[in-house]
Symmetry: D2
Subunit: 361 residues, 4 copies
């Protein structure tokens, strides 16, 4: 059972609670000889870090990652890579107000039933703080994928009713929203300001792509590339929906419209999102996901406590009006883990992922 | 690696090609003492069987399942259950026309790259025929779940632009569309007739629910109940999108609107779709999925062959205008597999899935 | 959980009871393009088949294997290979005499406690008949290994107090004992005759070797090549001990005696049995195992029934005086599964098992 | 793939090199509510710690374990338990003398072939130092097992030619050899002194028992209790052989002698070592293992370097003349991991490991 482990051949196992001593991960199955440094991983972590962005939570964590094993003289050795981030800004504040309370929209109620005993401080294990280790592990996967000519990229393409009308990847890393439409930045900024004023929050839609995949990745019939991608993305905190390619639009499409015609020069469209029969076509793998608005808001809500009594809840602390923003690097990381895992699986099968040569190009 | 295996504790491994000798499955991890018969499994299989429904393909397969092991004197023994369906209607027709052709929207092209050598007859392993074994295995899971007071149910809620406006579960099994809105049957029938005339196909949206779950099912942080459900549903042939609860609607929701308030009498809404932090709340687990229109249509399409040369493709044989219809029992089966697996996992953790007693009711 | 599955990348899942309808297996993860036929698998099965040998049980089973999927035009397709052997000689005899009895030395008592409900006929799932599917799966692994220049071979090196004093592999397949010392065949024959007269049974020691392994196979720290071999061999019915290389003799060895010196021409000895730190050295992998004498004997024994009452037990039917003989091809099969699995794992890591080139040769 | 992970439901994943920054482990699947403290784990660690015993290596490591997650207010929460031991005594000595050398009997040569790039300092990942995390994880398992009335215990029963002639468990923890025969302590002491003088080393035999198991633990046909025990023990550094119950003695036993008779009062013997058909009988699980003499000795040895040139090797540093001594707590830990895992697996199957009630007792 792999509750806290992701992947089959490139395996990431994480631990850590929001307000515990540290977060950590073991990355097992990384091929030897890959250049990996703390500084490289840190650049990925800094993109999701609380406090790095004026639109996200003001909790300030150094989130300084340490490599404890598996890297020698700057290169991986093929043995497990131990990663650690110590929690430095735990604010020894009093959590007794939520100790017995089930915050609506949070995992308090479900953890109580699953485990009976839980670390309620900041949500404990259910906190999105855990995703820092996914990003750290994803950074290692991305380092390897880049060597194989594969790029993983993500952008927030909608926040509330503000949708991107262009997909300009060159601007995504230049704005705090990871947004691909520079003309909408003002609207996004206004929306965040309004939400902060109201003490409310909003959902978001993220698009993530893997570019440069060889055809042939993915394992029918269960461990399909799209099925594993769906699990990977749905496992991110607050995600409620995942699409591949044309996604829900297929419901109203005709077969004659949906199927992507092939010519000697390549596919004429990509409604499939880069996957046919669960296996990569060589076109970009395209997925979109929806993140719910955080339930940690200043507007009072109706709930109960551990004794079944009605209570009112108000979240005071530091929280993002849109958790979707910080989910962009996390979505990238999760897709990187899936793609790397399937590259290794294909290598186990064929000895070489590039065999046979693609017919289309 | 579990390419053809689904589940951790209730494990289903399948084999078989569309036009091979037989389809089969091994169901491992079923608790002993469960009443299981071939007749019971057959009732589930008959619901997805080709030719059982005038709106679906006219290929006629008896799809008669045999239990080869693991059941003694009508009850499971806890040892692996071997299931077999022999392919009887393989039509020894000539498949040489598609031997070297990559049908657009099918897995021909991707299987060629993954494996180099493939059984092209009827799509081989990539055929939806494989899902018969999922339904058979799901039948066993459902037998066990029913004993625990859990019901899994699914319906097609949209086909093309015909949407269900009511969700009347009592009529779902009374019409050939598994549709919950009896007033739309005429429109569905008309749409299918039009598609047959045009030689085209259409997509569909399916809703699947698990009712009666105890709170506490699901494993953070990766093997969440919703993440495993997303993988299970996305692994069904032709599925391109999965939602839990409010799904993509969360993008435009406010936190104050989305979070489900709790009262001593229970939750006031179910935008979460029965899952918080990846763990069941005790409310119905609600998922929806989108199936693409089949690419096997009579309208000519542009493609290439194995030698990279342009070709025209027309599908002649027997095909469903809407593969989404037959996916209804498959979606049920996959959710049954996920829920049963998590019931056993919770039992491993706690020794009893009903511990502790739900606080809400 | 993989109770009935063996292997990580080359995965074998089996089902079937001694007196059920059939035995079967799914072999998942076999690379595509490997030549596999029923006839080839049958030659391996015939070596362990009951009734093929006048020293073993006279139960006559055709043990005719069918390939149901995963092989197309004589070559594997990379999809799961379904294997089936129907039980033809089930002798519908009356098993009511052992229905409530716990035969000493058998799994009746333990299955009763594990499962509560069991197929008692011929031992059900606990029967060594299940190993037929291991041999069938092992045949596929051996076909692949032979292509890589790897040979797996086994011999019975001791039965009772008759030990082989020479290891002449050329005679192993020429005698019914798989014995490597032709001068001991007469003694073995005499021992079997005595045992049959007495209605008793005897243990055996088997040696199994893998020749031609590249150095570098095996995964520290748990999935070592030797640890996986130990599990594989100990999982065979009746096995009570496993040694690698010098085995228990190391207890009295000095370090200066045990360590295998290395020279530019190669290792000077192989006390290690071909494994250092859990990883293959490139020398032969050498393991030995002990099989207990079967408990199915004509000499009356003391036992109890399901109601806790004392009973006497005598086995009448057809049984081998030495189950160790038939275990020879099974041991080969299990080592083949382990080696093939680790070859694929190494390929996943390095993309090529032969990288880097061995330094010694 | 689980190279550095052990267990299915109680999963232990470790990382760390001999001379890296730290050793660590993630223990996943521990039921919530178990009392666990650093002090409790430390008592187990102190038993295997270098320098704790005048007969073992004088390397002094505090081996102070920290719990980083998964325990809240002194009890496990069911979330993953992160464990860390920082390496404090890494002696920044010059390892350039072994950088290019393959020490005979060590994993240098095999790691070089497997990975190409390796941390050669002190053996890196292949060092037995890694087993500290197994002991730490085993301590948590033992805490849980004790609550279930199960005790795991181990003793060294032979070192070189000095064998225990009595098995007095009460003295095992009172001598530095974990030896159960107090009359042999003088001989053991003399042997160690001789070996130190000679600069040589010696092998050892360890016995480990699990007492108080319910009948019914273990999963046929591959994940048998004995097969998993064999793998667990063989995965310990330097182990070359494993026996269950009568072990290799079965080769010369008759069936009439080996089978353990049953009476209403219980079994009359335990040649089976507590396992029939891979499943526990309720009698003590008894295993023995052999550890080779360490290759790190002062007597010069013949070897080669990375360039294939002949070299002489002498180990200077701190090393145990008998690594078997410190393996006693490690063997206990590994059996604890196996038994706990199977307890959880049985719980998943039956909801309760004690169902049904043992018939014998």
């Amino acid at each position: 059972m792999s509750a806290n482990t992701f992947g089959e051949l490139f395996r990431v196992t994480t631990f850590g609670e929001s307000h515990g001593a540290a977060l950590g991960a073991i990355v097992d199955g990384c091929p030897p000889g890959l250049a990996v440094t703390e500084a490289m991983i840190q650049t990925y972590l800094d993109r999701r870090k609380p406090g790095s962005n004026r639109y996200t939570t003001q909790r300030r964590e150094a989130d300084a990652v340490k490599i404890l094993s598996g890297v020698f003289e700057g290169k991986t050795t093929g043995t497990p890579i131990g990663l650690l981030i110590e929690n430095t800004d735990q604010r020894s504040k009093d959590y007794s107000d939520i100790q017995d309370l089930f915050r609506p929209g949070h995992a308090d109620y479900t953890y109580e039933h699953k485990y009976g005993h839980r670390d309620y401080r900041g949500g404990g294990r259910s906190s999105a703080r855990e995703t820092a280790m996914r990003v750290a592990a994803g950074a290692i996967a991305q380092a390897w994928l880049i060597e194989q000519g594969i790029e993983i990229r993500a952008a927030m393409v909608q926040m509330g009713n503000v949708r991107a009308e262009q997909l300009d990847w060159s601007v995504v890393r230049e704005n705090d929203f990871f947004f691909p439409d520079p003309e909408k930045i003002v609207a996004l900024d206004a929306l965040i300001r309004d939400l902060k004023k109201e003490g409310d929050s909003i959902g978001a839609r993220i698009r993530v792509e893997a570019i440069g995949l060889p055809p042939g990745l993915g394992e029918p019939v269960f461990d399909r590339l799209d099925a594993d991608t769906a699990k990977a993305l749905m496992s991110i905190n607050a995600v409620k929906a995942v699409e591949i390619g044309a996604g829900f639009d297929v419901v109203e499409q005709r077969g004659s419209e949906h199927r992507d015609a092939m010519t000697p020069e390549g596919f004429l469209s990509n409604h499939a999102g880069g996957v046919l029969g669960g296996i990569s076509t060589g076109q970009p793998l395209v997925a979109e996901l929806a993140l719910k608005p955080t339930s940690s808001i200043r507007i009072p809500g109706q709930t109960i406590d551990r004794f079944g009594k009605p209570q009112e809840v108000i979240t005071k602390g530091r929280h993002d009006p849109c958790v979707g923003i910080r989910a962009v690097p996390i979505a990238e990381a999760m897709v990187a883990l899936v793609v790397m895992d399937h590259m290794l699986r294909q290598r186990a099968q064929n000895g070489d992922v590039t065999t046979p040569t693609p017919i289309l190009r």
